[in-house]
Each structure stands twice: as C-alpha cells, then as structure tokens.
C-alpha cells in the first residue's frame, strides 16, 4: 500500500514535464495520449512508490497535479 497518492487534473496540464522529472521516486511518466488541448499529461506508472510528498504539486506551474499522504 502506497504512503501517498497523486491526483492529476488532466485538462489543466500543459505537459511541461516538471513533475515527471522531479518526482523523487519516479512515480510519473508523460503519457503518449493527449488531453483536449493537445498536451501529454503525466501518467502514474508506479503508484505504489508514491510517498505523497507533493513535490509534483509544488513544481506544477499549472496547478494540475498534487500529491498527498493517505490519512492513517
């Protein structure tokens, strides 16, 4: 069971790649699918590794992603 989760607002994403690059546990990768604006949003590829640290949320210039710890 992962310590945290990440929630992505697919339509707000502009595919900059910051979250993918700076996630410390490599939870994300850019999808090859598109959102309606034509950007590639991130995909969670390793959900179990997510610690909920929210670094992705801090980096995202579009407020399109955030992470949080599961409540105990």
């Amino acid at each position: 069971m992962a310590k945290g989760f990440v929630a992505i607002n697919v339509e707000r994403c502009k595919g900059c790649g910051f979250c993918v690059e700076f996630c410390p546990t490599r939870v994300l990768m850019l999808s090859s699918a598109f959102n309606t604006k034509g950007y590639h949003p991130p995909n969670v590829v390793a959900a179990e590794k997510c610690s909920g640290c929210d670094l992705c949320g801090m980096y995202c210039p579009d407020f399109a992603i955030f992470g949080a710890r599961y409540a105990r």
């Binding site: 790649g17 910051f18 999808s31 959900a47 407020f63």
Partner: protein, 299 residues
Amino acid sequence: MNEQTLEIPCTIPADAANPVEPFLRMDRMPHIWCPACGIGTTVNCFVRALIESHANLDKVAIVSGIGCTGRVAGYANLDSFHTTHGRAIPFATGLKLANPELQVVVYSGDGDLFAIGGNHFIHAARRNMDLKVICVNNLTYAMTGGQTAPTTPGKVISATSPYGVFEPAFNLVALAEAAGASYVARWTTFHVKQLSRSMEEVLHKKGFCFIEVISPCPTLYQRRNKMGDGLDTMKYYKQASKIRHGARTTECDMTKSGEIIVGKFVDRDRPGYFEMLHAQMTETLGDRYAEPEVMCEQC
C-alpha cells in the same frame, strides 16, 4: 514516453483537493502563462509559505506591476492590486502606511521592478519600508515578446538585441543589498522547498525583504537562444546552481550559461520605517505627537 491511457491508478480519497486552490481565484483558471513558465511554480511556493506561516489571509495584500509576473495579483485570492508598470512598490508603500496591519507583498518581474521601477525599488529599500518583494526574474520582458531587460545577460539574443546583448546586466541581489534591503535571497524555480522557506521567512521578518527567483521563459528567452525548453532549463538550474548562504552579493552575477549562486545572502535588522518615524516624532514633539490614524471612518 509511455503507451498508456490517461487512467490514473492511484486511489484518490473523495475529499482530496489541491491545497493551492483556496488561495487562487479558481474562477479565472486556466491562467495565461505559457507551458513550463516558472511563474506558476513560484505561486505554489508562495501559497505554501502562506500556509506554513499561518498568515491571516484577510490581512495579506498583494501588489503587482505589469508583465507576466504582474498577473499573479489577478490570480491570488487576496486583496490584490494590478497597478501600473514599475509602480507596484510606491502603491504598496501607500497601502502599508495607511494600514500597517496589512502584510503587503509585492510580486512582480525583473523589468517592472528594476527598469521602469528601479528608482522606486531603491528608495523603498533605503527607507526599509516593510514590504516583501518577490521578483520573478526571467531575464527578459516576456509579456511584450522577449525584449532586453536590465537583467538580460551579455551575448543573449532578444527581440530588441537581435545581434546579442552587450550592456552589462544588473546584479539584483547586490543592488538590493546596496540600497539597504534587510533580507536578500536568490533561488531558482528548481529550488521549490528553499524558495518556499525563504518566502515564509520574509513573511515573519520586518523590513524591506527581497527574494529573486530565476525562472524560465521557454517561449521567448530560452527559445530565441536555443537553450531548450522549460524542463531543460530546470535541469540547468539544478546542475548550475551553487547554494552559498552569506555569499558576497557583488560576486553573484548572472551569466548566459554559467554558475548560478543561490541562497540567503543578507538577513539583517535595520530600524523599520514606522519605528524611525515614531522615534523622530516623539523625540521632537513629545506629547504633542499624535499617533497616525490614517484610515477614514467607516460609514
């Protein structure tokens, strides 16, 4: 990239909400900033700082000038002012003097604060006016198409220096220190944790505080100079930044592709503007001095 669909395999609690949203005017989203622009990143850091500092949001006022960073005021869910080019600081001065209870944050760009606004910056620093100035420095005039700014490093191509900038660039942290700022720090948009902490520090500190944030402008600055995209720039910041707290600000110049010295350079205590005003007035007027009651009556 991955051949995956847009399904997200995390289990997301029903009450999960992006912590940044209550601080933004969500009815104005999406914002106007480009893909991989760093301004939104700095806003995340600012919001975290507001949360961590337990700021009373009703008492935080944000004042911006004109430019891409100048749009921050319009997106912040605070008493916010989008003023004229270069004049956020004097507006903020009036706001603070009228109601000293307000925490007044100036959030603007390098051209706005240091070209047209340069004079106001140095005087507010000289006065140690209790303002928190966050300068997102993308080394260009982004909103108008990427013209040369006083911060654009030498040899860089810009819309108004098509053959390369040759003027020496301002060193903002040195300027801020020399003008009298009580707190001077520089980070980049890569340094989200440190930036957030610096912002939190200044929210607790009295006096004129200045934080410079180096940020990508992938659409104009980086693209025109074939420096890659925003992510490439963030990786450059990570690789080229050297954290040197207390470094000599005069040795912290920005260059086209060299080292970026970051950290907290100045953190000093100078008498505040109100303190000095009060001291001088009571010394000369004694009992006759009437404490300022600047705000007019509520009707």
